[in-house]
Symmetry: C2
């Protein structure tokens, strides 16, 4: 199994080129740090998992994560940074629970499986409108901003900025009269953001930021102030904006902090955006170069994070996956609801992995084309 020198094994066991859509690949250096800090973290006399979440050692980790996130995304002092649990799926409930007023409504743009789920949870609690939907194209497009049916009275507008399952992505940050709430799980920190349109940004960490088990929620203070009264304590964003209320998911946050420092060392989100565009361009160019491979989604909706494609001859797919694996290229199968192939190109996936994939795609076409 060939692998590049920078992915050299530590344990005699090979790290492969990992295109997993999530939980996704992490920087090898981060994993080495975690390893080095077991079973004892610094001078704590125990691992980071075994000490109080109110200890100075853990507090320094969480504050550092917060500080790096603030700098990387350019979050001003009017933004709260929350480390919650339950993933995006819990946010589908928590957002309307906090912000859908009993006598009001919210607007949702449907661009895939996850936004449909988000809308469903909002409707369990109150009134939510579909402002636009790409369902008619099987979610292979992003509806034109001009066509969105938005209400200036909506409490918020909800979007899913990158659609992991379908491989589509909004181009940049849309604008609206009302605060936008975005599920940025699979694109957060992959590009600089214009924060102006947003009231709340949420992201499960396990795609571009760390391991599963922590959800980052960024809330603008003026939006937070609009939330409903008498909320369950744990689901009230205000609880967590004010103080560390209960035991946080210590280990996932600890890894996120390392990923954020790694990201800073790579040059931050600007440098990462340039690299991510190069990675995506390399793969999409290979897909488009011949008819042997086919893109699945509209070109203007293509995701830099989760390119989806298929073989013109679908019957070759099992062989593609098998031969790719033999070359050390793994987790390339598309989502079970869509089929085909998917190569997730998150921040921690290096350019050389995409080069190896493209080389393999060339060779596979030569053998089977």
């Amino acid at each position: 199994m060939p692998a590049s020198p920078s992915l050299s094994p530590v344990d005699g066991t090979q790290r492969l080129h990992n295109f997993s859509a999530g939980p996704g690949t992490l920087p090898t250096s981060v994993l080495q740090e975690v390893r080095d800090e077991l079973p004892v973290y610094g001078t704590a006399g125990a691992s980071i998992m075994e000490i109080s979440h109110r200890s100075a050692d853990y507090d320094a980790v969480e504050q550092s994560a917060r500080r790096h996130l603030r700098r990387l995304l350019g979050l001003g002092d009017d933004w709260h940074i929350l480390f919650l649990q339950g993933g995006a799926s819990m946010q589908f409930h928590q957002v309307p629970l906090n912000f859908l007023p009993p006598d009001g409504h919210a607007d949702y743009v449907l661009t895939g499986r996850w936004s449909v789920k988000a809308l469903r949870e909002a409707k369990l609690l109150g009134t939510a409108h579909t402002a636009a939907t790409a369902e008619d194209t099987d979610f292979t497009t992003i509806p034109d901003r001009d066509t969105w049916d938005l209400s200036p009275e909506a409490a918020y507008l909800h979007i899913t900025s990158n659609n992991t399952v379908h491989g589509t992505q909004f181009s940049g940050d849309p604008e609206a009269e009302v605060p936008i709430v975005t599920d940025a799980s699979s694109e957060i920190l992959s590009r600089p953001m214009n924060l102006d349109p947003y009231g709340l940004i949420y992201a499960g960490a396990q795609k571009n930021m760390g391991p599963a088990g922590v959800t980052v929620v960024l809330i603008r203070d003026s939006f937070l102030a609009r939330r409903n009264d008498d909320l369950p304590t744990m689901l009230d964003y205000g609880t967590h904006a004010e103080r560390r209320f209960n035991t946080p998911p210590v280990f996932p946050i600890y890894v996120v902090e390392k990923v954020l420092r790694w990201l800073r060392d790579q040059g931050g989100v600007e440098a990462m955006h340039t690299l991510n565009q190069q990675k995506a361009a390399l793969l999409y160019n290979r897909i488009d170069r011949t008819d042997f491979y086919e893109g699945i989604v509209a070109r203007n909706a293509r995701s830099t994070m989760n390119p989806v494609f298929r073989l013109h001859d679908d019957a070759l797919q099992p062989r593609f996956l098998q031969e790719a694996k033999a070359e050390g290229l793994v987790n390339l199968k598309g989502h079970r609801s869509v089929g085909g192939l998917r190569a997730s190109l998150y921040n921690a996936l290096p350019m050389e992995a995409v080069e190896a994939l493209v080389d393999f795609m060339d060779a596979f076409e030569q053998r089977h084309g």
Copy 2:
């Protein structure tokens, strides 16, 4: 800093005797296994954190955790095992959301800080009665079972079986006409349980079972069937009883699985119970032997997991903590709301740690008594 040979350092950095109340100490062998499986897990080509939660590799881990938990606690096929997020604090909301009927009520026994919080969340949703409270003794007692004011019409009876903050514990499993819901966070797996009285058992993992970030919920099928309609998907226990709905907290569950295997190798909960009683007896006997140290709670309510005590001369406490730390005995400070000292004796804390503590207490008394 003296430490016993079995706690020998791996990295040149010492593991200390860690009496943390939570997140609590873990078996050193478990941390070694985690370390050995970084940055590559088995043949996955990536760490356990970087692969799909629907992969065969991760699935085997979660199924193994489930199997061991079932065997260790003797859970029959009529019990569902759920790995959720949000800690006990989320359960304070989720339990009444699912099981408090719009036209009914639930009973709560108040034995400390956490049960008071649980009651508060239930009251946000409906009617909840205080069946008994130890508030008049500053939660240094467990109200006699005979005095509980229980209603046979209650949807459930909620208890907190071990009170981490106050250092009290129920003696065994109480009985009631209605299903009991128990917060067993700080005593689960420390003793065999009589499951008959229970409808639901919940426990944050970070005290006796693993790292923070996963909450184990055990629900009897007949109790699950009684839940309310139209629940938010993520907060409906039924969602998680039926299938793996969303991305679970992979790494915390992976560590829990290792702790459960370790526990089996120690002889299971029966052997652990014997050892835990010996550990607690050693410490309580030392506390009681002279007037230099004082127990804080009623003798018949003393916790085997979280003994709390203080120095007769309170002014000596800072020196006690300082000298203990110099001997490698750490995290002995009582909860900020109670003060004094607390030595949490969770499963993973070895007898030799208690012996070292007791030896230190003797020496400290000789020096300062």
